[in-house]
């Protein structure tokens, strides 16, 4: 059966060039980068080259990068790191209702330690209101953490404007850029962000890798204490092959982003238009323009998302509802609920997230098979009768 992967926001395949960059460090170049002998030297060099490349993607200085094992670790490190470093100054954090669980659950955990979090609402486009953000800042506010691009809808938040507000009020600003990195240009310097998280496996790098940009001067309590790695900011023997791979992935992203972005948005728009033409009662979720080029989030009224996914899977199409982390769970998407969708509509959403390998043929195949799937599920739905 034909297999089509429309779930690139969940994870991406490792680029063959990335794997090539990793392999030496899974074979002969196995030394510990902290070792002074021959076996360690090339490992050390690989880390520094990987660092150079990731820094080029983020436009930051080498000393400003901490390697992590995932986007989730980066988010935890940034948020807990600032919270504990600044707890004398205040205990208030501002984030949004549409963040990834890595941010939401970290804030929830911090509540047990006396921190308070304001979760900003979003409008029906998935956008926050900057005036509400401004009004939410109090003298006790130590951190704003707002994602760059939403993983479920692809909505891009106004990071530059948020950064300006944060700077004017002297509040540390973290952005979870896990979904943005590799898909749209990032510039840590221009954005007034203090901290920025990325994850390797979302940009054709290996799982188990990530990085946290931490602007020079930002105080951060380490999440993982240990040896002198990464200037005492993250203990643990470095994942050398992973870092080499992440570096290569960053390099490739820089090189290909523009071209790919144009291609993907064409395909994505075709999906949205093609499905809307053929299937009644559907709704594209998220801001029309301020969106990642690759993401389509569509609610199919009267039916539930997982059953659509299972049907798609039986036809060889991989897609998801909500984030991969929450599929398997029964809660409707917190992101779509925050955007004002009903429970039914939130449950009935499917995310198609495109990537390098996708072709126009893939998209036409989806448009061809989807109407019958939706119709079949609707015919079984007790909610559908009235709408006919």
């Amino acid at each position: 059966m034909k297999k089509i992967y429309f779930d690139h926001n969940a994870t991406t395949p490792v680029d063959p060039e990335v794997l090539d960059a990793m392999l030496p460090f899974l074979k002969e170049e196995f030394g510990n980068p902290s070792s002074i002998h021959w076996a360690g030297r090339n490992s050390r060099k690989a880390i520094e080259e990987g660092r150079d490349k990731v820094c080029r993607l983020l436009n930051c200085a080498n000393l400003e990068l901490i390697f992590t094992s995932s986007g989730t670790e980066g988010d935890n490190h940034a948020i807990k790191g600032v919270a504990y470093a600044k707890k004398e100054k205040g205990n208030h954090i501002i984030t949004t209702k549409v963040e990834h669980p890595a941010v939401l659950n970290t804030c929830k955990h911090l509540a047990k330690d006396g921190f308070e979090t304001t979760y900003l609402d979003v409008d029906s486009d998935g956008m926050i209101d900057l005036e509400v953000l401004k009004a939410a800042i109090t003298p006790k506010t130590i951190l704003i953490s707002i994602m760059y691009a939403n993983n479920e809808t692809g909505v891009i938040l106004p990071i530059k404007e948020i950064g300006d507000i944060a700077k004017a009020r002297d509040v540390t600003f973290h952005t979870d850029a896990v979904q943005a990195a590799g898909k749209i240009p990032l510039d840590a310097q221009k954005l007034n962000v203090d901290l920025l998280t990325i994850s390797g496996h979302k940009l054709y790098g290996p799982k188990g890798t990530g990085a946290l940009f931490a602007k020079r001067g930002v105080r951060l309590v380490p999440l993982i204490h240990g040896g002198h790695h990464d200037r005492n900011r993250r203990g643990g023997t470095e994942n050398v092959a992973g870092i080499a791979g992440l570096g290569k992935a960053a390099e490739i992203a820089m090189r290909d982003m523009e071209k790919e972005s144009a291609q993907l948005s064409t395909l994505r728009n075709r999906i949205e238009k093609g499905l809307a033409e053929k299937i009644p009662h559907i709704k594209v979720n998220g801001h029309a323009d301020k969106r990642l080029p690759n993401t389509a989030n569509i609610s199919f009224e009267f039916v539930e998302g997982e059953s659509l996914l299972l049907n798609l899977d039986m036809k060889g199409i991989a897609a998801s509802s909500g984030s991969a982390c929450t599929s398997g769970s029964l809660e409707p998407s917190h992101v779509l609920l925050a955007m004002g969708l009903t429970h039914e509509m939130s449950h009935g959403s499917v995310r198609f997230s495109l990537g390098k390998s996708n072709t126009a043929g893939d998209v036409e195949y989806l448009i061809e098979i989807m109407p019958a799937i939706v119709e079949r599920m609707r015919s079984m739905s007790p909610l559908y009768a009235g709408a006919k």
Binding site: F302, V303, E304, G305, E306, S307, L310, M314, G328, S329, L330, E331, P332, T342, H343, E344, H347, S379, M380, S381, P382, L383
Partner: protein, 123 residues
């Protein structure tokens, strides 16, 4: 994540629809939890002669609905009342843990339909 039986009932659900002139109808679940099941039964001489379902929900919700209709068709009301959600899950070779609570409501829908029938029949 799902057993073959679940996938079979999901892909080829038995007894989809609504029984005409139903003797009883039961609806359980709600949109918040993501599953709504509506079961209609035709009862004659205390035997369930026909049964159909409509379900809004995930794979487990649809498969359990389908399975419960197979399990009760031709059964007496007494027999049907003894079918529990656990019976249904078992008949499907089990469900993923995360699905055991919320999506495993088909027997509840059946019992609601039987109750509805009894109320209407004045029993």
């Amino acid at each position: 994540m799902y057993s073959e039986k679940v996938m079979d009932h999901f892909s080829n659900p038995r007894n989809v629809g609504e029984v005409e002139n139903a003797s009883g109808v039961g609806t359980v679940g709600n949109p918040a939890c993501g599953d709504i099941m509506k079961l209609s039964i035709k009862v004659e001489n205390d035997v369930i002669q026909d049964v159909k379902f409509k379900t809004f929900g995930c794979g487990a919700a649809i498969a359990t609905s389908s399975m419960v209709t197979e399990l009760v068709k031709g059964k007496t009301l007494d027999e049907a009342e003894r079918i529990s959600n656990a019976t249904v899950a078992e008949a499907l070779d089990g469900l993923p843990p995360v699905k055991m609570h919320c999506s495993n409501l088909a027997a509840d829908a059946l019992h609601a339909a039987i109750e509805d029938f009894k109320k209407k029949a004045g029993k």
